[in-house]
């Protein structure tokens, strides 16, 4: 499936994005380019992590479902700084 299709799914969801204050970040981007097969780019159910042509990983947290997958699978370098969004921000499930 194209990244497109995940975006279509996420489009159905309700979010209150905390603009400019992402709740997840990559601690040291250099570590992602070296000796890591970048499972975050496959496993994130919202497709927040993208593998770039230059071997880097880009993270955009706007569509995050706050599951915790990226943090738990980053076992090589523990390179994901993961917090919940500020109170009231992030995904707001209508049905859950």
């Amino acid at each position: 499936m194209s990244a497109n299709k995940v975006e279509e799914k996420l489009f159905q969801n309700r979010y209150r994005v905390d603009a400019g204050r992402p709740h997840i970040s990559i601690k040291n981007p250099e570590l992602c380019t070296n000796q890591c097969d970048q499972p975050c780019t496959v496993c994130c159910p919202a497709g927040c992590y993208t593998q770039e042509g230059n071997g880097r990983v880009t993270l955009i947290t706007d569509g995050c479902l706050e599951c915790g997958t990226c943090r738990v699978i980053c076992t090589e370098h523990r390179n994901v700084a993961w917090e919940y969004p500020r109170g009231g921000f992030g995904i707001l499930f209508k049905f859950g």
């Binding site: 499936m1 299709k5 995940v6 799914k9 996420l10 159905q12 969801n13 209150r16 499972p39 496959v42 496993c43 159910p45 919202a46 497709g47 479902l65 706050e66 599951c67 915790g68 997958t69 943090r71 738990v72 699978i73 076992t75 523990r78 993961w82 917090e83 919940y84 969004p85 500020r86 109170g87 009231g88 992030g90 995904i91 707001l92 499930f93 209508k94 049905f95 859950g96």
Partner: protein, 432 residues
């Protein structure tokens, strides 16, 4: 907020609500903190509500709880790429009140449960994320929230903050989750007219059907799929162990797309309008993965404590029961004027050990490792059984004895005689 509470409950899911409700009813001054806009807005489940666990907390919940359908039929499907083989159990006994289980929509249900908690006397603040536990040496004395001047104090903190359990982890009470101990599940909700759902699943009134599935839909990963009927919607999802997701190249959303297009599943959801896509981790590490659940001034309840029975797809009932038992322990200590020390709170673990929660987890303690090491249960067997059924059912002029021989040969060719025996033994050990 320099106010001090008897107890702070972090989270307003099933375990947090069960704990806060029980504590407030017991007369304690309780603060419940929820990070979502409303209780339920951060919570994800299939979702099945098992009546018994809630009945022990709110006996008359059926009067006003938002319930979708009571379940009268359970289907278990084993799928290969083109077929399913399985069992259906439908009983009119399950159509007699009081009903045993219901499908629910968590955003609605959690809102209702939290309202009950407030009515019982607890104070709820929403849109507030707890960032850290406040410690005095080893002892938890309160929480630090993301509100201005966000320190709040209490004699005891109930950690109902969900599977990620960030607070206990940050405080050093437990290590990071192991990818082999959590499943990642993705699901969608599809809306359809009530009449369509009732016709497709042979239902009337508020009766419902649940389908649990395993086999090729998880592409060799250890996991299961599900399809539940709500009043005007269907929820469909699939979950696999995170360690398995990590070692293959399929995205979770693609896995769900493939499952939705399976020839046995597609007609059931056809024409539905998808209105939400959700993902959630499920703590499925079982008995051996349960962390330390009580210490100086703190207890862990619900998903944070790994209380999920993956075999029977039970979690919210274990969550509510752990919340209730933790609260009952705190109330007993309060009544006896005993402090919330690790030593005194060990009573909570004993209560859990004596309940179905730990007994069931203990019963299946070997199962996670058996399935991890033996993917054939999710790949080879569904295919072999499906082929066997087809061989027997297809009428093509071949005699039945030859057909049976062909089936036997197919099993031996795929798994060898030793392999078949070993697999039978492993299954017996896992479920013993």
């Amino acid at each position: 907020m320099a106010e001090k509470f008897d107890a702070i409950v972090v989270g307003a899911g099933p375990s947090g609500n069960a704990a806060a409700y029980t504590l407030a009813r017991g007369g304690l001054k309780v603060l419940q903190i929820e990070r979502g806009e409303y209780p339920g807005s951060k919570n994800v489940q299939g979702a099945i509500l098992y009546a018994d666990a809630l009945e022990r907390i709110i006996p008359d919940f059926r009067e006003d709880a938002p319930l979708e359908r009571h379940v009268i039929e359970q289907r278990m499907w084993m799928l290969d790429d083109s077929s399913y083989i399985g069992t259906h159990y439908r009983s009119a006994d399950f159509d007699q009140p009081p009903y045993n289980r219901y499908t629910i929509i968590r955003a609605e249900f959690d809102k209702w449960f939290a309202r009950k908690v407030r009515q019982a006397g607890a104070l709820l603040i929403t849109e507030t994320t707890v960032r850290d536990l406040l410690l005095d040496g080893e002892r938890v004395i309160g929480v630090q929230t993301d509100r201005e001047g966000g320190a709040i104090y209490a004699d005891v903190v109930v950690l109902a903050d969900g599977v990620n359990s960030l607070l206990a982890r940050k405080a050093g009470f437990r290590p990071e989750l192991n990818p082999a101990d959590v499943a990642l599940a993705v699901k969608e909700i599809h809306f359809l007219p009530t009449e369509t759902i009732e016709a497709r699943f042979n239902l009337s009134g508020d009766a419902g059907v649940v389908i649990e599935m395993f086999g090729k839909i998880t592409q060799g990963m250890m996991g299961t799929g599900f399809l539940y009927t709500n009043k005007e919607s269907l929820t469909i999802g699939v979950g696999c162990m995170l360690s398995d997701f990590k070692s293959q190249k399929m995205t979770p959303s693609q896995l769900l797309e493939n499952m939705k297009s399976h020839p046995s599943i597609a007609p059931l959801i056809a024409g539905g309008e998808m209105k939400e896509y959700a993902a959630h981790l499920i703590p499925e590490g079982g008995y051996n993965a349960v962390p330390k659940i009580a210490g100086e001034g703190w207890v862990i309840v619900g998903d944070s404590g790994m209380f999920v029975n993956a075999v029977h797809r039970e979690g919210s009932n274990l969550a509510m029961t752990s919340g209730r038992l933790a609260a009952e322990t705190l109330l007993e200590l309060a009544q006896a004027r005993l402090p919330y020390t690790a030593r005194n709170l060990a009573r909570y673990r004993r209560k859990l050990d004596e309940s179905f929660v730990m007994k069931d987890l203990k019963k299946y303690r070997r199962l996670p490792s058996v399935f991890h090491r033996n993917p054939q249960f999710f790949t080879a067997y569904p295919e072999l059984l499906s082929q066997a059924a087809q061989t027997l059912l297809r009428v093509d002029g071949e005699d039945k004895k030859s057909k049976e021989r062909a089936i036997r040969r197919s099993f031996v060719a795929r798994r060898s005689r030793f392999g078949l025996l070993g697999d039978a033994f492993k299954m017996w050990r896992a479920f013993e």
